[in-house]
Symmetry: C2
Subunit: 223 residues, 2 copies
């Protein structure tokens, strides 16, 4: 099985390659990609072993071909629809954020328990009642959910999502969701991340001490 870290980086490579294609770049070296994401060239080459494509020796990777290979690997062509639950400040911000994400991965419905926002259309996305969640999810074959409800409601909503057939959840609530093993949960916890930055802004700078062997990355992600 292929590691989550590698998947994250493949998603980054795809994004960079898309930009390069627009800029009419035709070939790229592993060390150039490495520079872009703040990693080593060896790391890039190791990651790219996962996709079915090999570089043209001594000329690097052909941008178009590599892009297709990564897209194929990540199943870009498989259409996937997502729903969002919790139309608060964060939910709304994310709806506009995701509006311009890739065509094969769209947020098609929003849900909230507050009657005030039901019927509203936010960023082209209709806001519906929680009662309709199960029916809509099944009818539209939605497999992914973005969860932006208050912490207290998260577990219960999570349960309902799984019941409705969702098997991937992007959870913004600061709660460890209890879900079956078949469901993938990705947590984004902005408060925790801010606290982590606070910690490392004081205790950071590893690279200053000890053996400075090579260029130090000093980058992190949420995951």
């Amino acid at each position: 099985m292929i590691s989550p870290q590698t998947i994250e980086r493949l998603i980054l490579y795809r994004r960079i390659l898309e930009r390069m294609r627009q800029e009419r770049v035709s070939y790229v070296y592993s060390h150039e990609l490495a520079k872009e994401i703040g990693a080593t060239a060896a790391q890039v080459r190791r990651d790219l072993m996962a996709v079915e494509y090999m570089a043209v020796a001594a000329r690097g990777y052909q941008v178009d071909a590599l892009l297709s290979a990564i897209a194929l690997f990540l199943d870009e062509d498989t259409e996937q629809r997502a729903l969002l639950v919790g139309v608060g400040h964060l939910g709304r911000a994310l709806l506009s954020h995701f509006r311009y994400s890739r065509a094969s991965l769209q947020v098609v419905a929003a849900f909230d328990q507050d009657p005030a926002c039901i019927g509203e259309v936010i960023e082209g996305c209709p806001c519906l009642s929680m009662d309709e969640l199960g029916a809509i999810a099944q009818y539209k074959q939605i497999t992914i959910a973005v969860l932006t409800v208050p912490a207290a409601a998260a577990q219960e909503v999570g349960r309902r999502l799984v019941e409705a057939g969702v098997c991937g959840i992007l959870n913004f609530a600061p709660v460890t969701l209890q879900v079956p093993d078949s469901v993938w949960v990705e947590n984004i916890d902005v408060t925790r991340s801010l606290e982590k930055v606070a910690y490392y802004s004081r205790h950071g700078d590893v690279s200053a001490s000890g053996t400075v062997k090579e260029k130090s990355p000093r980058k992190r992600n949420g995951n």
Copy 2:
């Protein structure tokens, strides 16, 4: 040096212990904390070796004392102020999100380049002009920044932040910031996270295959 993963989990333990204290729980076992965060008891005990506190044998950890020890370790008492740059949808949502974060870590100023929102007060936080960024950061001794500007502006704003003395950045722009080694960057890339969920919602469920040895966690985080 202490690993980022451990720091993340310590932040979670703190949050859970705070809740327990409110609920008047006085002792807690490592396996109970483990359950809460979806990890193993051994992991919890290993993490807690970092802080200066030992359990009462056979009775577990004393909630109050452990909480103090973790807080001390994470320097809860050291006041830290943060600023936010980029008062768009996401920036505003985060300002209200952080409003009720811990008292020792507050967002005290917001900045945007758009004159329309300058002077506005959002969630108790004044919105100022980018021109004042350096002066305010220095005057208020701000060391942390939340970056919610469009991708195209992120690198330039990042540079200015570092110039102003910021040494920790929580970056929401889908860009790899180039900063000195002394600056800690934590990335939250919501689009990438959604794409990752999309991937694993199809290719997930590791636990179904091979040797299922013990309870599988099936949780992830942004970083």
